[in-house]
Symmetry: C2
Subunit: 423 residues, 2 copies
């Protein structure tokens, strides 16, 4: 008997019929003797519907009230799933974030989980019930409802799995695993059966939409084995088959059978680039620029500071395109005058493309193959950022698909591992 967490995305919960399919799948695990906790997202479209209403009222609605509103989506889908399980004869009970409780900080719309009480969940599991915990939400110290931000249900699932020490956390979604890149852009993309935690972390942070990055961080920190698998298969698929399907995200490198040099190509179009030109290069200037940005709860991604020329430096960074206007406003009114920048240059028509692979650690020449490939396609690189297992470039966003396809081919990701070229 295992203790398993299932997470179902909005598409999997998208209609009454699909919810009943989820219930059948959960019932199969329950019947096989497993203890199951389910973390569902809101029915697809519901969160957008709610946020749409909010935006009609105010283009920048109050965070506390927005969370109060958005949290209803998961509460409704969780209750419906409990009903579906009960009507299939499976004892089940749903809980909201505050009922568990899932305690978070007070950063409305992007709260972080601080702790999860496992008493209620364990009591119900021990009584043979399937426990449903609403994804995406929690409660802060003052008793306000908080949400974890888009894709937060993944994080909820992993956090619950950690709290109850689950054997595995299964992320059911509308794709059948993690691919070398998005198959909609590169039809030759291949599913990975195993991927390392570090690679998944880079893939997630770089715009691969399968898992929210924080869920992968969480899983890494607490070493929760994650599996991404399809919710669109027959819910009554033999359990043995389902248990080994999809992509396993592992923490043991020797388990990684396909230790390719480059495992995948990630990309993100939601990028915007901002440069402060000719900033006097004094100690602490980076903090003077990014401190106020962080204080405004804006996530900064790439940061690039050129070497100093005549006592001044150019300071560039990227933010999510949704935060672009707000960031620019902040820089113009507060930051640029304070640090005496000569001007602000910005571009919201950029994208980021990255190659990711644990194998890069021990192989030279990977980055240069990337740059050569882009150069041969006539694509200008605007920014470069590297880490141990990834190299990212910022380019004009009109070249995004072209770059991804070219890199996917150059690194042989459309071929069997054994036939891939070694740079």
């Amino acid at each position: 008997m295992s203790l398993i967490v299932h997470k179902y995305g909005g598409t999997s919960m998208g209609s009454v019929e699909r919810i009943q399919n989820v219930a059948r799948r959960v019932a199969k695990w329950h019947a096989a003797g497993h203890q199951v906790v389910v973390v569902p997202s809101a029915m697809s479209g519901e969160t957008n519907r709610l946020l749409g209403l909010a935006k009609e009222i105010n283009s920048q609605p109050d965070g506390r009230e927005l969370d109060m509103l958005a949290a209803t989506g998961e509460q409704a889908s969780s209750a419906l799933l409990a009903m579906a399980l009960l009507s299939q004869g499976v004892p089940a009970r749903s809980y909201t974030g505050w009922q568990v409780p899932v305690k978070t900080d007070s950063s409305f719309t992007k709260a972080r989980i601080k702790s999860i009480d496992d008493v209620r969940i364990r009591t119900d599991l021990d009584q043979g019930r399937v426990v449903i915990v609403t994804g995406f939400q929690g409660i802060d110290e003052e008793g306000n409802i908080t949400t974890l931000g888009r894709g937060g249900s993944d994080t909820s699932a992993v956090a619950v799995a950690t709290a109850i020490k689950a054997d595995e956390c299964l992320i059911y979604t509308d794709v059948d695993g993690v691919y070398t890149t998005d198959p909609r852009v590169v039809p030759e993309a291949r599913r990975m059966t195993v991927v390392s935690f570090e690679e998944m972390l880079e893939m997630a942070s770089l715009g691969s939409k399968i898992l929210q990055i924080r869920s992968v961080e969480f899983a890494g920190k607490y070493r929760v084995p994650l599996r991404v698998l399809s919710s669109l298969t027959d819910p009554l698929l033999p359990l043995e088959e389902e248990m080994t399907s999809g992509t396993l995200i592992t923490f043991e490198e020797d388990k990684k059978m396909e230790a390719a040099v480059v495992s995948g190509i990630a990309f993100s179009r939601d990028e915007a680039k901002i440069t402060l030109r000719a900033v006097p290069d004094t100690p602490g200037v980076a903090y003077s620029i990014l401190g106020p940005v962080a204080a405004a709860n804006i996530d900064v991604d790439m940061i690039l500071q050129n070497v100093s020329v005549e006592g001044t430096t150019d300071f560039s960074f990227t933010v999510n395109r949704n935060d672009f206007a707000r960031t620019l406003d902040l820089l113009k009114t507060q930051v640029a005058p304070a640090v005496c920048a000569r001007e602000i240059v910005s571009d919201e028509k950029v994208c980021k493309v990255s190659i990711v692979g644990i194998g890069m650690r021990s192989h030279v020449g990977v980055a240069s193959l990337m740059f050569r490939t882009l150069s041969e396609e006539g694509i200008n690189i605007q920014m470069i950022s590297t880490s141990e297992i990834k190299t990212s470039v910022v380019i004009n966003d009109k070249y995004m698909e072209l770059a991804v396809r070219a890199l996917h081919k150059a690194f042989g990701l459309d071929q069997d591992q054994s036939q891939r070229p070694q740079p």
Copy 2:
């Protein structure tokens, strides 16, 4: 400065535009220096949408999960109203039932309020905020979400008004007051400017849909002055005018200017009649019949037991038509065998029509005018029930409109008070 509770129904909250109108109206009261607590219903259609999803999954969904689901409607509308107020520059904050908390018993889908903590509400009011409390819902001792049943937001509003000792509880709705009867059935129906609490109680319990009966009971118990008024007037109507519009439900009889013999005609089509024939007339037989019905949480309305003939009696009662199948099943399988009833006769094509009036107390002949009027229209009376201030009859439901119109005319309700006939 007064302390006022506003309650808005689903129609008043039915769209973003209407929610903004509600916000404008509330802002007007706030700007005039009043402390305002608002209790909104779910956006019209939302509760039906949610219950529809539940019914698709299971025709008799689990009560706990149903409440978990249904409570989301008011949570969403409350958050939207808070956003609308904030965007109009009015400080506001919304609270769910469990956040206040509104404590109830554990009768899912028809819970009763046990207590309301006023600390959070008062703290916010004292800080100049408008406080929004989700209607319809609460939390039981085990921390489960409960709902108060259809129309429960009225009860929430009155309960909140009681808890904070509000000066008046304003029930904004899509009609402009309480009428002598439903104007859709009798176009000559007239609005009452004042109605006594007792009359309103009878009107509500008899199917007048304006207020949930429990809210009137609550208001009566704690003597909260209630006013029913229109939410469809210009939200920026002069406050003085709005404060005296609609119908005031009063507890002081001398305030009632139009002390008519009969104040109004109430009716309800959602009735079903069940008779147990030839039940041996032993002591305790009524309890043997109705005990199991009450235990199944079925509300019984009229109860009628004829005098005993040859040691047996016929025992009749009415239930809401929605509970009819369930009640009949219960009687057939459990009750009838236990009390040795000869047979069960039932009819779900009946309705109830009632005349209501405080003046009936001191006037004879009111009931006989009612019976004569129905007889002249050729309508057969199946059951009769009376109280101090009302007389109800059960008739075939095809005669409902005819009966209401005839009685409305016979008691002169379409005329000024001074010109009404005295029976």
